[in-house]
Structures are given as structure tokens and as C-alpha cells.
Subunit: 469 residues, 2 copies
């Protein structure tokens, strides 16, 4: 659940305090020092599509990678082995215990006003239905507010939250509004006496493709099964209710949560030549939901970060500080990887944490959170990326896996990309390799390589931020 | 399988012979006679969304409507009953025997290099697999030409035709090129010794949504099962082959063709006040594939044509000739409805046949095939639709159900719409009501109403075309 800025704030930021450096025609000392190296990094990145080839191998070989699954652990081991072949330093898997939710068989079917299957996906973390399923009348509401006006009408029913994904705002802003129903729907439905909770999939386009994602329970409220219908099915049920028809649905889910499973954060690095204990960490999350290939979310982010480090290695660049690539585990349903990474690396001094988890689409630039001086420096570095169009710098970095580091004062950076189609595929069967483009993944890798390298090598370290939220 | 013109030919047609009338600033006598009536039709159409309401009832109440299914017959009866309530003349269902193909259970799964389900839909008319299914190695080819260079390599294998939908040409031109693999793939695969035929879905966008559609066998070639994979799955298998991996797929299909079933063309009319035996027929097809709701393909066309006649009825307009709306049956896998209609109505004199089967999206105008004089008249009528943007007239009308009438010399007309998203949803689970827009369906109805009314009422009858292909 990343937070991003509306476009007008981005524009204001560029025109305002942070825009000065980006608009300079005279290079700054930092730019004079690094522009030729930046150009070499970009040139090497654009010379082949090795990142995309590796991404394709990863997702085709292992498919999706839910926490607790064998495919996740096999993928992590494969990444480690390839990192060893890349001759990165200190390649390792650091153990992390992760939640182990399994979907099992599941289905939803319309019983009245006519029998028909519904396109659905259970939500991650949901309990199952009793054996044989639940058959109940459906109450469709637009929002929590509407449910709260219903008094006893939801009692014994299945509540369907039909909240449309707002498409008149930036993609992640729309997501932030709609995803509340996925996360909190089961709690609110149960409080109202419902026996199950359905949502309209949190998606900005649909070809009857349901979208899963994490949901929560409140320990003081009876847990009820929770699933997403496709946008089309949710709209159909809403129309039926508007016509005064009685709607009955049969829901059957075997979902259950097993004891925590073994997993790990996989990582490798280029050790710093002068301050090896100062670290620029960059990565994405290696786990995914159990649908599609988790290519966009987030194998592409892991591979772009990994490729960034490989680019530095191939160019023989040895930055002053350590540059480390990490594939964090369990971002999707626990954040255990990001938390474990922070706890395991307290003794180190993290200079910057970078993540790509908004899809390795055409990169627009980066979001940065740190001090104003740090933002000015990042804006200077960003300006050197103008040749590949990823020179925009904004003051928001909302990525999840690096948020535990942000909490202890580490400056953080998210890769900003053209996310217009992100929620077409997010957490759906459609998240497969073809949704990403080789040239775009390459430019993501180049952008992360430049940011990581310059910050790791420049004489003055990036200032620490105050400990944040 | 409609044929449409590339854009440059459309532009040439507008600037050339047929463009003169459309560019007139002085109204022609025909336009002086009819413009105010046209404006009344448009105004009434735009005054409510009754067409969309009725369309929603139809598709939500009955769902998809494959030939031979109970849902198709119930939908046909419902349309007849509503037409009686509308007090149309001569409301009836004319019996038609239709092919009865049933899908049964089906699945495809990757066996090697790893086990994973594949998103698939069997193709309409396919035979099933033997009980227990077929497990065989997969050979991926780009085209028939590539298959023909393979010698014996397809023997005993499953052939996958991975032909991408061309997206750099108009939608129906791209469809025409790609659909050959759906229609003829099983014949070519079988000739090469394959045990089954798979295609990349014929679709211009995908969220792992497979697309079905009709396929053919050649009585001299062993029939093999045929199915479509989602675009994503076809691309994944192709990548695996490119990496030199052995691909094994398990395919299981219960598909079978049962004896022909009873169905019918449903129709109603406004009887002509002076030449009732001269008929302007307009409609769409009431059958659909057995996925989604068949809302775009083609309940929307049926309802737009029906609403067109209702608009004339509500305005109390009584044209000189008969205006008849028909919901043809079995367009998708047999064209039996269109053929039976022609055969049953030999005694009548059809002045014009209109169909909407490219999706009731924003109407751009009409395609017309008849004589040059007829085209000039239609262009004059088209110009009166400028207020709702559907004034374009092109010289191609490729709709299927009216093609049997075209063969006997009846001028034909297809409604042209903004079809850019048509093949996102076509023959997939995604073809549900929300893909159409109330205001757009309304403008489709208005366009058809104007064309039907003026042609049915004008003093001079539209000239017959020569008997065509």
C-alpha cells in the first residue's frame, strides 16, 4: 500500500524548492564528477535486454510465489545461485519466518435470481467457509457509510461492497481509497451481523478478472470469509438489487492459515571500498500473490534492482560505500522480510534504501524522503538521468519493504513509473511477464543503478532523516 | 466475421463520390422533408436510457445464450413477450433448427517444465479429448507457413499457433488476419500429424482472459480437439520453447456436438401504411457464445434495433413500408437464423437490411452496400445524423446475419461504431453489460431508427443491388 502524490503536488515540487537544480544549465560539481559514469551505466543498460531475460526465466520457471509456498523458496534459492554466478559479494539468504495462508479450492455461484458461476478470488488471510459452503442472501452497499445506515438489514446475509475504483485521480490515490474495502470489509460486514464479505475487485480495468490482496480481521470481531468478485460480477449483483430482485449466493472456500513457514531475504552486494559498513540497499519483494506470475508485482522490481548492481559490477565500478541488492520476502501478507531485514542489520549504517514496487514500467524518476538537503542532492543526481526520461524527483517514497528502515531514520526512495495500467493487472491472474516491456525494465535498472552508485560513492554521505512514522 | 475498411479507404470514400452530399450546406429535398422528424427521433432517444435498461434486464436475466441452450430459448421468448407488450405488429418466433454444441468440462495444464494450470477455452465446434485427456509435447509455431516448414516435427504433438493480434491496423482488419488460426488451426495441425490444436486467443488485450469462437473441420482430415489459450499463456509457452525447454501439456475437453436443437428468429414490426410487403429489416443476433453475458456480442445490437422501432412507435410514425426488427438466432456457430430468415421471406420485397454486430459502442455512422445511387441516398440520410456524430457513410457492410439477403440482391447496412475495445472482450467472460454505455447504446438506436424510418418512408424506394457474393 504505497502512498503517492497527486500530479499537481509533483508539479509544484518541481517548480518550487527542488526544481532549481533540475533546471540548471551549468552542471554542479557533483554532476561534473559523475555525469560520464552515469552515461556509461545508461549505455551499458541499453545495450542488451539481459534484465528482461532473467526476469522471464524467474517467472516462467517458478510462477507465482506466495509466502509459505515451495515455489517461493525455490525462486529464492535460484536467485541466490545466480547472484553467486554474478560473483556478487556476501551472497546469502537471511532466514525469515513468514505467515502461511493457503487458498485451497474456492468458488462462488449465483443461486437466485438464476444459477450462474461468479468470477471470484478469496482474499489473502481469509478464513474458509464451513464445509459445504455458505448460502445466503446478498446485500449490496456502496460504502461503509451506507452499511452503517442499514441497521439490522445485513444480519445473516453476505454483504457485497460495490465501491468503484476511482479513475479520476492518480492510480495509487484511487487504490488507496478503494482498498479500504478489501482490507476492512470483513470486519465491518461481521460487525453488521453478516456471514461473509464480498468486494468489487480493486482494479481500474477488468476482463472479468478478480483481484486478490491482503485483508484483516479484528480479534474482537467474529472472522467471516472474505472474497473479491470481478468488477463485472459486482456490478451485475448491484443491478439486480436495484431492480428489486432477491439475490442468493453460494460461497465455498477452503482457505486456512497454517503455522508460520521458513523463508528468507535473498541478497548480494558490492562491498564498499572505503566505508563498507555504510550501505545503500536497493530491491523489491520476491514473494507474490498466488495468481499469475507476480511478474509486475514484484519480480520486475527485484530484477531491476539486481540488474542495477550487475551493471555496476560489469563496469568494474567500486563505490566508496556498500551497494546491496535484496529480494525481500513476504511483502504481500506480512512485511516480515522488511522487518527482519531492519532487525538483522541494526549494526550497519544505512545511507539510503531504494525499492521498486510500482511495476517496472517506463521510469519517470524517483520519490525521496529524507532531509531537504538530501532531496536537493537526489534532485542533482536525478537531473543526470534526463537522457532516459527518469529525472523527476518528488518528495514521497511510499514503498513497503523499506518502511521499517524509514522508521529508524534511513532516507528512502521509491522508483516512480508510468503506473497507469498497474491496477489493471495487480494481484490478478493477468500479472504475467508480457505486461512489462524489455526497454522499460532496462531503464528502471539504469535509474536505480545511477541513484545507488552516486549515493554510495559521493564524498559527502546523504544526511540521515529524523526517525519517521 | 465482418469485413471492414481500413481508415484511408473510408476517408477516400468520404472525400470522393459519396462525400458531395455530406458536404452540402444547402439541404437536399430529402433532407428538407425529413430533418425535423429525424430531430424528433434523436430527441426522444436521448431523453431516457430505456434501451440500456432493457438490455440490462435481458443479459442479467438470462446470461449467455449459446445455440441449443435453455437460456437462449428463454431469452427469445422473453423478447417476444416484451415485443407484444410494446404492441408491435406481427410479433412472432419463426422456428429454426440450430447446431447444438456443448462445452462440458475442460481444462489445460502445463506438465513440463513445471506443473501449472493454463487459462483456456475450448473452441466452438471442437471435438472432445478421449476420456482422461491428452498429454503431449507442445510445438509452438508463429504461423501456418512456419508449421509447413516443420516436416514431421508436429507428429504426435500439440501444435500451438502463437499468432499475435495485429494492433497496427483497424480492429476488424486485425481480427480478419488472426482469426484464420482459430478457424483453420485444427485442420492444419491435424494435417501435420498433431493430436490437438491450440491458439493464442484472438484478442487485442488480455488480463489472462481466453477467447472462444467458431472453428472448422475438414471432412477429409481427422478432427483433433481445438482450444484457445490466453494471450499470456501462449506467450509463456513460446518463451519456454525459445529457451530450449521441453513443454508438455495435458488437455482435457468433454466438448461434443449433439443433434440439432429447436430455436427461432424473434421479430416484430410496424406494418407499412402503403407498401406493407416492402420491408426494411433491422436487427442483431440474439444468440451468443457460452461465456460472459453476450452483452456486446450481440444483445446490444438486438436491443438497439428493437429500441429503434420502439422510438418510431412511441412517436406514432407510420412509414410507407414495413419496418421489422429481428433477433436472429445462431449467428455465432452456424448462421442458421440469417439463412432461415431469407428462406422464409422470399415472398417479400426487402428494401434494406440493417444489422448492428460490431458492439453498440459510440456510433460513427453506417456502412452500406447497394448501388451507387443507393449509397448517395444513404449519405444524404447520414448527413442528418451529424448532431449525434453518426453521419459517416462507408461502402462496406460486412454483417453476417444479413449476408444471405445480400446474396439475393438486398441492399445491406452495418452500424459502424468505435470498435477499439471490441476485441478486448469479444467471445470472452468479459463480455458483460458494463462494457457498453447507456448514452452510446441510445445513439446507436437513434442512428438505426433514422436510417430505417427514412428508407421505409421515402417516396422512391432504395434501388435493389445486383445479386452479390
Amino acid at each position: 500500500m504505497a502512498l503517492r502524490l497527486p500530479g499537481f503536488l509533483v508539479i509544484a515540487a518541481l517548480l518550487g524548492t527542488t526544481g532549481a537544480a533540475a533546471q540548471e544549465t551549468q552542471p554542479t560539481p557533483l554532476q561534473r564528477r559523475y555525469q560520464s559514469t552515469v552515461d556509461r551505466i545508461i549505455a551499458l543498460a541499453l545495450s542488451d535486454s539481459s534484465a528482461y531475460q532473467r526476469l522471464g526465466e524467474l517467472v516462467d520457471k517458478f510462477g507465482h510465489r506466495l509466502s509459505g509456498s515451495e515455489s517461493l523458496e525455490r525462486a529464492i534459492t535460484w536467485v541466490r545461485d545466480r547472484m553467486l554466478e554474478d560473483k556478487l559479494d556476501n551472497v546469502r539468504i537471511e532466514p525469515v519466518m513468514v505467515p502461511h495462508w493457503v487458498r485451497g479450492k474456492e468458488s462462488a455461484g449465483l443461486v437466485e435470481p438464476r444459477a450462474a458461476p461468479l468470477a471470484m478470488l478469496g482474499l489473502g488471510g481469509s478464513v474458509g467457509t464451513p464445509a459445504g459452503g455458505i448460502t445466503a442472501e446478498v446485500l449490496v452497499v456502496n460504502s461503509f457509510d451506507e452499511l452503517h445506515t442499514m441497521g439490522d438489514r445485513a444480519r445473516g446475509k453476505i454483504v457485497l461492497f460495490d465501491y468503484p475504483f476511482p479513475t479520476n485521480v492518480p492510480a495509487f490515490v484511487g487504490y488507496g481509497r478503494a482498498v479500504r474495502y478489501r482490507v476492512f470489509g470483513a470486519i465491518e460486514a461481521s460487525k453488521a451481523g453478516a456471514v461473509a464479505s464480498l468486494i468489487r475487485s480493486v482494479a481500474s480495468n477488468s476482463i472479468r478478472s478478480p483481484h486478490t490482496g491482503v485483508m484483516r480481521y479484528d480479534s474482537l470481531v467474529t472472522p467471516v470469509p472474505a472474497a473479491a468478485l470481478s468488477v463485472e460480477d459486482a456490478m451485475m449483483l448491484h443491478r439486480m438489487q436495484d431492480r428489486g430482485e432477491k439475490i442468493v449466493v453460494h460461497l465455498e472456500m477452503e482457505a486456512q492459515t497454517l503455522p508460520d513457514a521458513k523463508s528468507g531475504n535473498v541478497m548480494g552486494e558490492i562491498q564498499g571500498s572505503q566505508q563498507p559498513n555504510q550501505v545503500v540497499v536497493l530491491g523489491g519483494h520476491i514473494d507474490s500473490w498466488d495468481v499469475g506470475q507476480g511478474a509486475m508485482d514484484d519480480a520486475g522490481g527485484v530484477v531491476a534492482a539486481w540488474e542495477a548492481v550487475r551493471l555496476l559490477k560489469r563496469l568494474g565500478l567500486k563505490p566508496r560505500r556498500t551497494v546491496r541488492v535484496v529480494g525481500w520476502t513476504n511483502e504481500e501478507n506480512g512485511l516480515r522480510g522488511g522487518l527482519a531485514y531492519r532487525d538483522a542489520h541494526q549494526a550497519e549504517d544505512h545511507v539510503l534504501a531504494i525499492e521498486s514496487d510500482a511495476g517496472a514500467f517506463s521510469p519517470l524518476g524517483v520519490g525521496f524522503e529524507g532531509t531537504p538537503e538530501g532531496l536537493a542532492t537526489i534532485t542533482e543526481i536525478g537531473a543526470m538521468l534526463r537522457a532516459i526520461g527518469s529525472d523527476r524527483v518528488t518528495p514521497i517514497a511510499g514503498e513497503a519493504d523499506i518502511s521499517p528502515l524509514k522508521e529508524i531514520g534511513v532516507p528512502t526512495m521509491g522508483l516512480d513509473t508510468d503506473d497507469r495500467r498497474y491496477f489493471w493487472y495487480h494481484h490478478s491472474q493477468g500479472d504475467m511477464l508480457d505486461k512489462l516491456d524489455p526497454a522499460e525494465v532496462t531503464r528502471c535498472a539504469a535509474t536505480m543503478a545511477v541513484m545507488a552508485y552516486v549515493v554510495a560513492d559521493m564524498e559527502t554521505r546523504l544526511p540521515r532523516a529524523g526517525a519517521g512514522k
